[in-house]
């Protein structure tokens, strides 16, 4: 992966190249060994290129190869390896290079402007909505239903920004307190400045291989044992936002495939999607890592710290490392890989983690994408 940055000099193609090159080098493969490529990237309105997937082909190492772009909004970063898995598990290919890229800084004056265009053209856009509105609405509903105090949510931001201090690519690593979060600028109550991940430029890449080929390349492959994805209705105002049913559905699909019956006991650590602090909690519940409404207590009690019983976002997450949308999701897959191979350096969680789950989320608070990996 590349550094995650507020603004990168590199073009989107160059970011994609740096990540893809690193992924190939890390497993000693040449581009000729790659049989297929899949690209994950979020709205074209960030990079400012229509058919962005086509534009990125050469940087992603897909010259004259089978290449497609998958796209499920914010969920893309974890869907991309699922799409890559489909390439390999279908038997069509032995290898697939998965690349995710985002260059949000191209969008001016602020990438937020692009988010206006995700709303319904007839019933929502004329109201002048801001992206943060809908998350504030969801967060508030979640807080209301479970009577959650804001401090417990803020603790997620504190943890992740601290974890990110050990991540060499991090954009917003910092030591902050719960009070700092609660005192930060109110954007759309209950969302405050420090509840939010930044906008970023960056790319990440992973190489997938079939079982036979993987064993030839490395002695310590990390296996994709479960995949799941799910999309709820577009009529988001018609649902109860307090619980992400679509994440639960995606998780069930992935757990069933991975033979996981009791996720709370069988998952050693997790990288749920955390573009906002409350989302980490929301997603822990959707991933069935705890009961509904219980996640805020777990973070408050330190259970989700790196040395806790259930480490959550040991990477530093989107809140700390940064949020180049699709690349941020794939960063979580990278983290699972590094942690499960015990190569995460200062970020390494103690013990002997064997099974982990990564998840991303997107569209209009609608998509869940889940991958279970095992050492």
């Amino acid at each position: 992966m590349t550094k995650f940055m507020r603004r990168a000099q590199e073009t989107g193609k160059e970011l994609a190249y740096e990540a893809a090159r690193m992924a190939l080098d890390s497993c000693g493969l040449r581009i000729e060994d790659i049989e297929s490529v899949t690209m994950g990237s979020a709205p074209d309105a960030f990079d400012g290129v229509h058919m962005k997937g086509e534009y990125l082909i050469d940087g992603a190492g897909a010259w004259r190869k089978p290449y497609m772009r998958n796209y499920v909004g914010g969920g893309t970063g974890v869907f991309a390896p699922i799409h890559g898995w489909q390439h390999v598990a279908s038997g069509l290919f032995d290898t697939c290079l998965v690349v995710c890229e985002e260059k949000m800084s191209s969008c001016r004056p602020h990438p937020q402007a692009a988010f206006l265009t995700i709303f319904d053209n007839f019933t929502e856009r004329p109201l002048g909505p801001n992206l943060v509105w809908i998350f504030a609405l969801e967060m508030h509903r979640y807080m209301h239903v479970h009577k959650i105090p804001k401090e417990k949510i803020a603790a997620v931001s504190v943890k992740n920004k601290k974890n990110a201090m050990d991540h060499p690519c991090a954009q917003l690593a910092q030591k902050i307190t719960v009070e700092d979060v609660l005192n930060s600028e109110v954007l759309v109550w209950p969302v405050q400045r420090l509840d939010i991940s930044p906008t970023s430029d960056g790319a990440a890449a992973v190489v997938l291989a079939s079982e036979d080929v993987a064993r030839k390349i490395t002695d310590s492959p990390v296996w994709i044992d479960g995949v799941g994805w799910n999309l709820d209705t577009a009529y988001w105002t018609n649902r109860d936002l307090y619980y992400p049913q679509y994440v639960e559905n995606a998780a069930k699909m992935a757990y069933q495939m991975a033979g996981i019956k009791n996720p709370r006991q069988e998952i050693d650590f997790a990288e749920p999607y955390d573009p906002f602090d409350y989302k980490e909690l929301h997603h822990m519940e959707g991933l069935m890592l705890c009961k509904k409404g219980e996640a805020p207590d777990l973070v408050w009690e330190g259970v989700t710290q790196r040395d806790g019983k259930l480490p959550v976002c040991p990477s530093g997450g989107l809140l700390g490392v940064g949020n180049p949308i699709a690349a941020a999701g794939l960063m979580k897959i990278c983290e699972l890989f590094w942690q499960l191979r015990r190569e995460a350096g200062k970020r390494q969680i103690p013990g002997d983690p064997k099974t982990a789950v990564a998840q991303a989320w997107g569209d209009l608070m609608q998509v869940g994408t889940v991958v279970v990996m095992r050492a």
């Binding site: 229509h50 897909a62 772009r69 279908s90 999309l231 209705t233 679509y246």
Partner: protein
């Protein structure tokens, strides 16, 4: 041997130059209802995965994936978008079924260019922002450059390209789905105004609104649901360089590689075994270029074959008997899926007035349009059901 995957149902709306009365959701619903009825499936009960096809700037909405599930019966189900032609989405469905994880999948693509105020402006946004876009040129220049070099290298002529338009527009007269059927002559095409010489206005397929849904199933489920499944024998896709500067302009390398992969996968099928081709003709010269690149004839031969009627509906290799994009209308990310639907109708002997006699095995291909060099191909058969 890998388990087989079949198309078990198709549904398509009638293509129209403009469909102002319906929203894209309502068009998708119509196509989905038709496809599920054709396949005999209940989407809420039987379909396990849905794959949609869109590009944000065609829609005017970012993250269009948000708006797809409800009208195709996919809410709270596995759904994803492939930012490409519907044929790519179909390939993704094929892969999903081949993994064993999914038994029945639905693929959707649609087209609503009548909502875009200026298609040229959107096309320009796909050009490289540093090296190409500053030239502020009509984006059709990409096709102009390619047509010029292709004719230069292959020896085919503008007249022969015009014959393709004549053939496809006339083929469309027999196709009730088509939006641009006409008694056009090659002379009309040559006399149409120049856009990016040698490309004239009538060399360009006109845009059309429409929606299509296709249902796929694993071998076991296909036999449960369907009496006349159409099997996918081979498929392939390829992207050549996106950089216009680095392109080999005369050759459609993406089509050649995709077709090679497709034939390699469909081991026993050779080009002469195919009963019909539905291939990209979004510009007149593209049909000729694609025929040559994919090995259906020698380089420089496609024009003559067209003149001789070899590619006519009653010819030796019927090409775009449906009318193709030139006759039916160009439907952007739906173009490949539209050709697939037409091919499936043909292979099931349900194409009506434009039925190709004894059509059993067909070939479908798409190109992603200006400024790309990406495309996919597929071979399907109704034999061996």
């Amino acid at each position: 041997m890998a388990p087989r995957v079949a198309v078990i149902g198709v549904g398509m709306t009638q293509l129209r130059s403009i469909a102002p009365d319906l929203s894209y959701k309502e068009m998708m619903f119509e196509a989905a209802v038709k496809a599920y009825n054709d396949a005999g499936v209940d989407p809420r009960r039987d379909v396990q995965s849905f794959i949609c096809s869109s590009e944000d700037f065609w829609e005017g909405t970012s993250i269009f994936d948000e708006y797809v599930p409800d009208q195709i019966g996919a809410s709270l189900k596995p759904v994803c978008t492939i930012s490409a032609d519907g044929l790519y989405s179909l390939i993704t469905a094929y892969m999903q079924i081949s993994t064993g994880l999914i038994d029945v999948a639905a693929v959707e693509a649609h087209s609503k260019p009548s909502e875009i105020v200026s298609i040229r402006n959107i096309m320009s946004l796909a050009l490289d922002p540093i090296y190409v876009r500053p030239l502020a040129a009509d984006p059709y220049f990409v096709a102009g450059l390619e047509m010029m070099r292709y004719l230069h290298e292959s020896g085919n002529t503008r007249e022969q390209c015009a014959r393709v338009v004549e053939k496809n527009r006339r083929n469309a007269l027999e196709n009730p789905y088509a939006a641009y059927a006409s008694q056009t002559t090659a002379q009309d095409v040559l006399a149409s105004e120049a856009v990016c010489f040698p490309l004239g206005k009538m060399d360009i397929a006109e845009p059309a609104d429409g929606a299509a849904v296709v249902v796929l199933a694993s071998e076991e489920k296909a036999k449960d649901f369907c009496d006349d499944p159409v099997w996918i024998l081979g498929l392939g896709w390829c992207s050549d360089t996106p950089c216009l500067e680095a392109r080999e302009w005369g050759e459609a390398t993406y089509a050649k590689v995709a077709a090679d992969k497709t034939f390699k996968m469909a081991k026993d099928v050779r080009p002469k075994d195919l009963d019909l081709l539905e291939i990209d003709d979004s510009f007149s010269y593209k049909e000729l270029q694609h025929l040559e690149a994919m090995g259906f004839c020698k380089e420089g031969e496609a024009g003559v074959l067209t003149e001789k009627g070899v590619t006519a509906p009653d010819g030796e290799i019927p090409v775009n008997a449906s009318g193709g994009s030139l006759g039916m209308g160009y439907t952007f990310e739906m173009a490949g899926l539209q050709r697939l639907c037409e091919t499936v109708l043909q292979l099931r002997n349900r194409a009506g007035e434009h039925q190709v006699k004894n059509a059993r095995t067909g070939f479908v291909q798409c190109w992603r349009g200006i400024p790309t060099a990406s495309g996919a191909a597929m071979i399907l058969t109704s034999e061996g059901s």
